[in-house]
Structures are given as C-alpha cells and as structure tokens.
Symmetry: C2
Subunit: 343 residues, 2 copies
Amino acid sequence: MKPGKDGYNVAIVGATGAVGRTMLEILTTRQFPVDRLRLLASSRSAGTVVETAWGDLTIEDLATADPSGTDIALFSAGADRSRAFAGSFAAAGAVVIDNSSAFRSDPDIPLVVAGVNDHAAFAHRGIIANPNCTTMVALMGVAPLARIAGLRRMVATSYQSVSGSGMAAMDELVDQVAWFQKNRDALVFGGWEEPDVKVYSRPIGWNVLPFAGEMAEDGHTNEEWKLVNESRKILDLPALVVEPTCVRVPVMVGHGIAASCYFDRPVDRQEAIEAIKASPGVQVWADRVATPLDSAGIDDVLVSRIRPTLSEDGGISLWAVGDNLRKGAALNTIEIAEVLVAG
Amino acid sequence: MKPGKDGYNVAIVGATGAVGRTMLEILTTRQFPVDRLRLLASSRSAGTVVETAWGDLTIEDLATADPSGTDIALFSAGADRSRAFAGSFAAAGAVVIDNSSAFRSDPDIPLVVAGVNDHAAFAHRGIIANPNCTTMVALMGVAPLARIAGLRRMVATSYQSVSGSGMAAMDELVDQVAWFQKNRDALVFGGWEEPDVKVYSRPIGWNVLPFAGEMAEDGHTNEEWKLVNESRKILDLPALVVEPTCVRVPVMVGHGIAASCYFDRPVDRQEAIEAIKASPGVQVWADRVATPLDSAGIDDVLVSRIRPTLSEDGGISLWAVGDNLRKGAALNTIEIAEVLVAG
C-alpha cells in the first residue's frame, strides 16, 4: 500500500447507507490522505452523483465495479455483500476494513478497536474486521480496566439506538413516534393496534424492544453473542464470562451500555477513572451523566456513573455511551486505516 | 376493620396524581367492597368534583381533613405527605397502605408485593408500605425463582418509563419529543441546544437518562438503593447481592427490567418457566418478546427472554415488564387491601 501524490486510493462500499455517509464525512473532516475516492453501492443507487471534497463523484455499481487500484476499501454494505466482494478487493491488493459481521469471528482475521488493540491490525491478510457497534462502545470503557486488573466477568445490558439498524429503522422510529403521538391514551392505558412494523418485529416508538438481532443459541440473540465473542477476541481473553442483554430503545443515534465488571483483583473508583481517562478516544464524565444525545455527532465515547459494585468483589459498574455511526462504525474503520498508514 | 353494609370506608390520598387516578379506576373495575369513598389531595385540588362509581365526590384538602371513620387509606401523595399524615390516619384506626418511600425501610413496617410475600401484610401496626415500582416488577419475575432455588445475586438494569415520575414528567416527555422532532438533524449529528427541563436534569425525549432518582451512597442513586434494600426485605434475604443500574427511557408507561440471577443451586430454563408460570399475577411470554407497550394498562407483569446465563453458575437471565402505575403502584396497594380483607 503506497500512497499516490495526495495519499491513498480509497473506496467506500455501501456509500449511501447511514454508516457509508458518515465515513465520507469523517474522511473529509479528519483530512485522511486521499488521492482518489470511489463510492460504490448497489445497482439501485449507481449513477447518483454525490458532492465530495474530492469533486462530484458518481456512485458505481458494486456488482460490476473493477477493484483494481484500490488501496483501502471501507466496507459497510451488509455481511452478504462483504462475503461476496471483500475477497476480490483484497485479492486486487486493497486492505479491506469491513464493518459487517461477516469476518469478525474468523480467527485469521483481526478484529480491531482503535485505541484498544491497534497492534492486531498489522496481522491482516487483506481484511480487517470492525467490531459490532455495541461491543465497540462497551470496550472503550471496559478495556482500560481489563488492562490494569484483568477482566474476569462482565454483565452488560445495552440501550441501542435505531440507527444501528440502518436508515430504514430511523424512518420507522420517526413514523411510529408520530403515529403513537396521536394515540396518547393508548400509551398509558393500552388498547392500541399494532402500527406498521418493517425493520423491527414489534413497535419501537414510545417503547423498548428487549430483543436486538435474531434468535441464536441458548436463548440469546446473535447481537448478544457478538458482544460475548467479540469482547473475548478483542481483549484476547478466551475464557471471559459475559452476560449480555441487548435492547433497542427509541433513540436515533448513540448506543448506551450499562456494565458491571469483575476483575482478577479489586479496582476502586479513583483508579478506574484514571485508567479510563488515560485511554485515547474516551472522555470520563465523572460528575455529569452522559446520555446518547450527548454522544451523537462526536468521536469520543463518554463514560460516566463509574462506581464500585455493591458486592464484595471490588468490581466496577459503569455507563458508556457512544455514537454508533461514528466510533461504533465509520470512525473506527477510518481510525484503523490511520493506524495502518502511520505504520 | 369491620365492613359497613357495602364494604369498607376507603380514602385515596393523592387522588389527582397519576397513581391516585389509577387507584380509583382499579377500585371500580375490581369491584373492591367500598361502602364510602373519600378523595383527598393538596389544597390546590381541593373542591374539584370527580365523577366516580360511588357518586360525584368533592376532593378534600388533606391538610385539614378528619381521618376518623376511614378503614383503608391508600396513600400516593409523596413521601413528605405520607410522613406528615399517615400516622394520624393509622391512629384513627385506618390501615394505611402507602405507595411512597417514607416507610419502606422501617423494619417494623411490612413491605409487601402481593403474590410474593402476602403473609407479611398481617404483621402491620397500622401502616403497610408498597414497594418501589421497579422493585415490584423485578420481583414478580425473580421471586418465584428465589423461592425454588435460593437467590444469591441479581444484576438488574432498568428501563423505567416517565410515568414513574408523575404526570409532569409525562408532559415533559411529550413536549420534548415534539421539540426534538423539529430538530431531527440534531438527533443524528448533535449540536442541539438543551430543551426546557423541569422534572429531569437532562432531556428524556429521544434519549435515555442513565440516572434515575437522586445521588446517594457509593455512587448509586436512591432509586438503585431501593432496588437493593427492598429486594432484600421483601425476599427476606438480608445478604442478597444486588447490582443495580436504574435508567429512565422515553416511554410513557411500563417499566422493564433486565436481570441476571444466580442461585444456591443451578436452575434450568424449563424449571424457571414453570416456576414463574405457577406464580400469580405473572404471564410468561416464552416465545414472544414482551415490551412496555404490551404491559401498559394491564395487571399482570410479563416475563420473557427467560434463558440460562452464559457463565457456568446455572443462573437465569430474564426480562420482566409491568405497568408501573398498576402492579408497580396502584394495583399492588389494592391487592394488599384485598389480602387484608380476605384475611
């Protein structure tokens, strides 16, 4: 991967999605060294012209595009498209940084949270996986503690925004919020008729859905298993116990995670605050509560409510919240690219 | 407490609040044996006439009302008013069933979840305390498991609706939802100005607040300590370990609780389902996800996502959701009255 005169040839695959658009914005604002940019998406969007800092670009059809000449391909087009097309980009010499779940559990493919396990990125063979947005936000708060005291067990419960399910989910929330607003009594007394549901199996407006993803083994969803398996892989702790509950909430952007963590040795509040503060990409809000709205549109993950667990194990409970489109997705892929470029 | 010809003399104290109104509705629909009903509230509401199944009733001023002749006084007017007035009703011969936090931690005052520890009600000396709404919903799911296998530890994370904070909070949510609707970009990209906040310290519309109640000891809120101390008292397990996180969500009615529970002996999924099914006032939704909207306006607490914990402790994770105005408050006070009446 050698830069051209202004930098690298970068492709965004899935450029019209919620994460793809954020990738474009972050490449621009972080002044990533781009020589040539390509935008790719499904045939439905191909031909659309998008204004960018690198001129007006026409969206190319992923299915027929030639991957040659690409240095860095940022994929966020769903796991099926990653499985179908990431290999050809890698074979043509690109480093693929993939935001889907397609490769995360492959032991030969690094799974990287920038700021947590950057070193793992360099072991790539053409593809690097970006973790699930919930895992990412959780570990930005928990990894600094795991580093100093050895993480043994984490009970993690999520408050996931709808943008983690894409733009159609954001529209569904907006529609349902308006629909239920006209049925205010039903919100209090019940008796509503099920509104249109497309992305989710049940209403998300004025509600929470204690079920994110699809049912998988042992009564847990695939979203919950991602939190288990990805945390183990990123922290390099194969025996880590994770008890996950993944819940969708009627929030547009910003995933929150409540975690109670137990370590190999006791950790006190002040030590926990200092360890998290010393970690890049995280802000500790020690005396103020960080909410999803506070995290929307910013790069740092916010950690607050850092407190001792009430059991006698010397654990730490905390609340982490981060922009799932940025650190939870687009930002981390670009940070991984920055790690590679900096060498 | 001897009934008159049609039943008992019942007073609702705090009759104009969200819980007080629900008490009136539940007395009516459950056909509680009421001979005479009195409605009491602050001087602000005194004089208002309310249509009831027992005729048009004028709201009396709590501060100047004579408690004589009351058999059962259902209090939901805040802890300060309970501390000021519950004693005089009890001294005048009434049994006070108090929905506030005023007496819950008093070792001489029973704290009762109907269906869980009914026997405790009979030890009253004039006052019985109704637990916090979050504790109530959680224990409806967890107590049946504690009964069969001995509860050792519970990590509980809440998704609490705004009606738990009263009617002003419901209005605040509705206003903020409308306010942010006009600022949709701000929900995604940030850059919003703080909307009016009155009941909560931070915005609740399109957001979650990982802080319910007020800050208390050891970095936990008083709401979180209620979950700890009330669970210990109701289950009669003084050494129970509870790790609580209480979070407010933009839902009108219905508190959800995600709990991971560990017992003295392993419990499997089928055994857990059967134990909860056998308990009164609970529905097990084994193959369907129960949401706050499903719980609004109904009496039963709904329990779903019953599954083994992923650690090797043979624990159970579950999701319980219940109408915080009904089982979480008004319904339970009336169920306690029914327990007493049935003797």
